[in-house]
Every structure is written in C-alpha cells, then in structure tokens.
C-alpha cells in the first residue's frame, strides 16, 4: 500500500469512528440522514476518489475508493457514499460535472427501463427504476438509459421524479423511482462510454462484495470480543471448544471473502475483471450466508435485539448479498462461461483468474 492509500484509509477510519456511531445508524432508520458525516466525507474529498485531479476529482485509485467503502460498510455508514462515488465515475467518463451532494444512480439494469428521446431542444427522459439506493435523500439522480443513439446518461433533479419509499432488510432506503417526460437541455445529456452500461452491474457487484467484507470484518471482531466477555458456566464462552470452532469457521469465511475481493479489485483495475467480480460476488455472498448465523449464535439473545449493534451488520449482509445479482445469478453466469470453455480448458480458466496481474 502506498502512502496516499494509507492516508486515505486512516482518514476514513478516523471519520467513521468519530461520526458514524451506533446512534447515527439507528437514527437513519427513522429517516435522518447524517449530514455531519456526509459533510466531513465530502470535505475530505472522499466523494470523488478514483476520479483524477485533472478531471476535477480527488485522485487516488479505484482501489482506494473501495477501501473507503469497505471501512464505511464496517461502520454501517448510512450514507450514499457508494452511489455517489459510482455516479462520479460515470459522470467523469461521460464528461459531465461531478457531484458532491448525496447522489444516487438509476440505470436500466435489473429489469429497469429508462428511455432517452431526443427532441428539438434537448431530450426527454421517462422510465422507472426499482430499489434505487437513497433516492429519497438524494439531491441528484444520475440516470442511465437507452436511446436510439445508444446509452445515455444525465443528471436528473429528484424533485422532478416520483419516489416511492421502500427499504431493504437493513432499513436502508431502496426506493422506487418514476420519471415521466423530464425535459433536459442538450448539454446536460451525454453518451455512456462504450461498454460501460454492463460495466455498471459489475461495478455494483464489486462494490457490494467489498462492502460485505467490511461488515464481515465487523461481525468477526464483535464475535471474538463478545466470546471473551460473556461468562457462562463460570467461564468466558470463548473457552468452550464448540465456540472456538465456530469462530474459526467464521474467520475462514472472512479471510476468503477478503482474498477474493482483493483479487477482483486488482483485476478490475488491471483490465476488466469480469470473471473475478463474478467469483467475488458469489463467494462473498456465501460467506455472508454462512457467517451471519455464526455471529448470531455466538451472541445469544442479545444479538437478536435492536439494542445490540450486531444486527446493523448482519442485516446489511443479508441485504447486500441480494443486490446487484445474488450468488445464483452470478454462479449461473460463471458456470455458463466455464461450460462453454469446456472441460479441457477448466484449469487454464482457473489459472487465468490472476494472469491479468502478471508482472
């Protein structure tokens, strides 16, 4: 890790420790977006990491941005930082202005339909998108949709949209968003760079995988700490071999999740990393499904309450594993690719997973 990466990581940790308390996460489920946390994140330049300074961003690599997201997720940060970062990458690639306000993305992935139609004095946009993260809090929606000229992107004012409140299992806003003939000037609309529409799904999957590793780290740390504190039968439950073995399994899931996402991040930076992202979303989803019940079992009844912060992480894990394609979705795709490649090329397929990184 180079110096800048280290600074970004430490800064993010510090901000989260100071400002992303358990209370802040609880309040978010009552409809309060933590403005203070958001402002600090923006002031430190974290909303535009991964966009070069020449393009108006804060510089840093894509991997740095993902480090921020992992740390934010570890603290269950209830802010649209992932969405704003992703929006800014899309905007900068499309040559549109970057956003420092809370921003979300509505694309035509996942059965959504967004249509751009060119008219004499600009464009009109219509369509609907489901489970849009933080739409009700967003001050800008980056909309990506089809047109006769190819895929287009534009910034739309959420006040011009109809928004229905929905949420995921973690109480994070996942709203339905409807756009009906919103009119935009020509210069406010731009072409999506070739290939980048599909890319959004992969980026989203990678981002959720990275966020899950943050939450997994958290539940492992909580489980270790709790097992040392909680006394039953006259000793800390950590002394029971059954508990030790469960924590060992959880540790294996966390380590696996981190290792495969690291590979996916590196591969994405080096080229496109599609296969690696598929593998990461599958494996990390599995780790979430295996790890969360272990953490709950170790915590006993207290972990099942809203009082204890464990649920802030486990509910996120249960939600994120389903967002941007769950394990089955990606496993089917990856399996198809493997079967098309054929039995005699299975091993070369596996070893090619990190050959994009060859020195």
């Amino acid at each position: 890790m180079n110096d800048i990466s280290q600074i970004i990581k430490e800064t993010a940790e510090k901000i989260m420790e100071d400002l992303c308390t358990k209370q802040v996460v609880e309040d978010s489920e009552l409809g309060i977006l933590p403005r203070e946390l958001w402002k600090t994140i923006v002031k430190s330049g974290m909303a535009t990491v991964g966009v070069s300074e020449e393009a108006g961003g804060s510089g840093g690599s894509f991997a740095d941005a993902l480090t921020i997201l992992r740390i934010a997720a570890k603290f269950s940060a209830p802010i649209p930082i992932a969405e704003t970062l992703m929006a800014n990458w899309v905007l900068s690639e499309a040559g549109l202005p970057l956003m420092e306000k809370p921003t979300t993305i509505a694309s035509n992935n996942n059965g959504n339909k967004m249509m751009f139609i060119e008219i004499s004095d600009g464009w009109t946009i219509s369509g609907s998108a489901y489970d849009v993260p933080y739409a009700r809090y967003a001050e800008a929606v980056v909309v990506i949709g089809n047109s006769q000229q190819g895929n287009m992107v534009a910034i739309v004012n959420p006040r011009a949209c109809h928004i229905e409140h929905e949420q995921n299992l973690a109480g994070e806003a996942r709203d339905h968003l409807y756009i009906n003939n919103v009119h935009l000037q020509g210069e406010a609309v731009s072409r999506v760079r070739e290939g980048n529409d599909n890319n959004l799904l992969y980026r989203g999957a990678l981002i959720r995988a990275v966020q899950m590793t943050g939450a997994l780290e958290r539940i492992l740390e909580l489980s270790i700490a709790y097992s040392k504190e909680r006394i039953q039968f006259g000793r800390p439950i950590a002394k029971f071999q059954a508990i030790q073995q469960q924590i060992a399994i959880l540790a294996g899931e966390v380590s696996s999740a981190k290792t495969i996402t690291n590979l996916a991040v590196k591969s994405f930076e080096a080229g496109n990393g599609e296969k690696q992202i598929m593998a990461a979303k599958i494996r990390v989803g599995e780790a979430a499904s295996l790890g969360a019940p272990i953490a709950h079992q170790i915590h006993g009844a207290i972990g099942f309450t809203d009082e204890h912060s464990l649920q802030q992480s486990t509910r996120r894990l249960w939600s994120w594993r389903d967002e941007f394609g769950n394990e089955s979705y990606w496993a089917n795709k990856l399996g198809n690719e493997v079967l098309n490649t054929g039995p005699d090329y299975l091993w070369p397929f596996v070893t090619s997973m990190n050959s994009e990184l060859v020195l």
Partner: protein, 384 residues
C-alpha cells in the same frame, strides 16, 4: 481486522507463467502418450518412480534448493506453479511428493552437510523417496504423546517402537522418524528428535494396512533395535518438536489441499456439457469455480508469505480446513448432478466419483484434522 487473516494478492511473473506452460505442455504430451490417466488424490496414491524421474530430469523437483544440492534456485512461486499443474492434471506424483515437499526443505534447514550433499541431489533427481513417521498406534492428533524412543549407543542411536498410517513406507527408501530421545519432563515438547531411518536397515519391518478401497497405501512400521548412525540424526537432538512443526508449515497450505478431486470436476464438466438441459449444473459449477478461485488465491498468498520467510500458521490452517472441505464438496456436487443412468454410460466419470467419495474421509484427517486446524485458527485470533 484480525491482521493474521490478511493475505496479499500475488502477482506471478512472466517467467513463472513460462514455467507453467512448459509443465502443462509436458503433461499434455505424457497424457497423450498414455503415460498416465488423470486420477483423484494422485499425490497420495499414484506412485510412479519413472514419472518422478522424468520430472527430476526436467528440474521440477527440489526446484527452490541451491544448485550445489541438485536444486534449480527457482522461487517458491515457480515451484508452486509446477505443483499445481501436476495436481490439476491428476498426474502420478506420490513417489516423490513428501521428499520434495517437506523432507528436502527440512534437510536444507536443519540437515548436516553429508545429508545435504548426498541425499538432496538424489531427491531432486527423483531417485530417493521418503515417508513420514509421526503417527503411532496410540498417538494421532496429540503428537507429543509418541512413545517410539531411541537410546544413545556408541556411534548412533538404537530405535524401538512403531509408526502407523505411514504412507508409502513399503516403497520409500527412508523414513523421517519422530521419537523420544530423553524421558518425558513437564514440557512434553522437550526430548523429541528426528532420526532418518534407512528402510533397509535390519530391525525395520513393514506391515501393509489396506484402505477401504482395498488399496495398499498405509502401513504400520515396526522398529526393533534399529541402529541409526549419528550422522542420520536430523538437526539437533532434543529439537525434534520445533523442527517437525517447521516442517508441517510446508505441508498445510499447498495446492494438494484443495485439488485432490479436481480431475472429477473436469469430468463433471464434460458430462454436463452434453446435457444442455442441466440448468442447476451451471449454478453449481459456478459456485465451485468461485470457491476454487478463492482457495487458490489464499494458497498463493500463503506461498508468497513463505517466500518472504514468514510462517503463516493461521492462514495455512485456513487453506487446509477450507480446501479439504472443498475437495469433499466436489464429490457431493458431482454425485447430485449426474444421474445413475448417465454414470452407466460414462465409466470414467463413475470411477473418478468412486475414488473421490471413497478417499474423502482422509482429506480432512491427514496432516492435521479439521478440529485441530480450527483450534490453531482459534488460537490465532486470540480466543484460545
């Protein structure tokens, strides 16, 4: 995050990838020539001295050792790549496996000059094979409880006791034998030593123990007043525990801990490819490949740490725990996806599946059981 669980992403060099392609081409040629048919668990059960010698001739045994001892001075990652190719092809590598993987490095680190200059070059040529004498009838996981012992006599040691589950003892030339060389004290790890037993010595007898498949692989080795000369002591008398533990680090995290049933996965894909309607098959295969990729990355990460001289006990235990579960999982997935009528028509699939199922109990026992590994991990994260 618990620091000891972190692994770096390893970037292989061009040169390393070239080695891979040489090995891959060699293996394809050998397979086409009919030298071998890919088998599950071949590193334990497919013993072929001729094949081992061919690898030796190509410089693929003892790769990382100094040239003066018959090595090639290649990197640990180059060796890693060679071993993973050999295993992925299910090639017959059992004869040299222990010698190349652990005895060689053990001797390099602790052996005397005579051992190094006489034995290492022969291991690297694929001429001398080793077995590992740790377990005893009353000693399994609790290794420090061994009772095989050696008494000092003029010019050497007189060894008595017995070893069990000794893989390949009936065909190997030497056995590195952990034994007690002084009486037990409060510290059970003291007073243990490693002696290299020449299997042709008088007093050594080997009794076969057959696996449930009927294969002869295991043995019980009886040691009755076996004379072991002083210069066949490995390292220092009394340091046997420390030396054995260092040796085990080479053992736990290699590709043989997750590739033992890989040839079955290849065959599964061949079968599924012909059944275009098997939608569940795509998903199941996708999941296995995601898991395999993850394990390989972890194992490479550990290899990278070993190369830097770090001893990654916890992550090595993780690779072995998760990897051996995965080896069993391939068998289970294959079993559930392919109907018995398809198996009748595909004898190759059927026999690989049979091998994988019948060998699977061993995967999670050998080299430290699942439970023991999880204990190591628990200690590593600070709760034991």
């Amino acid at each position: 995050m618990v620091k000891s669980l972190e692994l770096e992403t390893i970037q292989l060099s061009q040169k390393t990838e070239q080695v891979r392609h040489q090995v891959r081409n060699f293996l394809k040629e050998e397979m086409e020539a009919g030298t071998f048919i890919p088998q599950c668990d071949s590193w334990l059960s497919k013993w072929d001295p001729e094949f081992s010698r061919k690898l030796g001739q190509r410089g693929w045994l003892g790769m990382t050792w100094p040239k003066q001892y018959g090595g090639q001075e290649r990197t640990a990652l180059e060796r890693y790549v060679v071993t993973e190719e050999l295993l992925a092809f299910g090639s017959p590598v059992a004869a040299h496996w222990f010698a190349d993987r652990q005895t060689g490095p053990l001797l390099l680190r602790y052996g005397n000059e005579k051992q190094k200059s006489e034995i290492l070059p022969r291991i690297a040529r694929g001429e001398v094979f080793f077995s590992i004498g740790l377990s005893e009838p009353n000693t399994g996981s609790d290794l420090a409880s061994i009772s095989t012992n050696a008494r000092k006599i003029d010019g050497g040691w007189l060894l008595n006791g017995s070893k069990i589950w000794t893989s390949g003892a009936h065909r190997s030339h030497y056995m590195v034998t952990l034994c007690r060389t002084s009486t037990k004290t409060d510290n059970r790890h003291e007073g243990l030593s490693q002696l290299m037993v020449d299997m042709s010595s008088s007093g050594v007898s080997v009794r076969p123990i057959h696996l449930m498949t009927g294969e002869h692989h295991f043995n019980e080795v009886f040691l009755e007043d076996v004379f072991v000369p002083d210069d066949m002591v490995v390292g220092t008398i009394g340091d046997g525990w420390k030396q054995s533990m260092a040796e085990l680090a080479f053992e736990r995290s290699g590709p043989e801990r997750f590739l033992s049933t890989f040839p079955l996965l290849v065959e599964l894909i061949r079968v599924l490819q012909q059944e275009t309607t098997n939608e569940g098959g795509f998903t199941a295969v996708g999941r296995l490949v995601a898991r395999l990729t993850t394990l390989r990355e972890m194992s490479l990460g550990v290899a990278g740490l070993l190369e830097q001289g770090v001893s990654p006990d916890i992550t090595a235990a993780l690779v072995k725990d998760l990897g051996t579960q995965f080896e069993c999982q391939i068998a289970e997935v294959a079993r559930l996806l392919v109907s018995s009528s398809t198996r009748v028509a595909n004898s190759r699939f059927k026999s690989l599946l049979a091998d994988a199922v019948l060998h699977s109990p061993g995967f999670t026992l050998r080299g430290g059981t699942t439970e023991i590994l999880r204990g190591i991990i628990a200690r590593g994260v600070g709760i034991r």
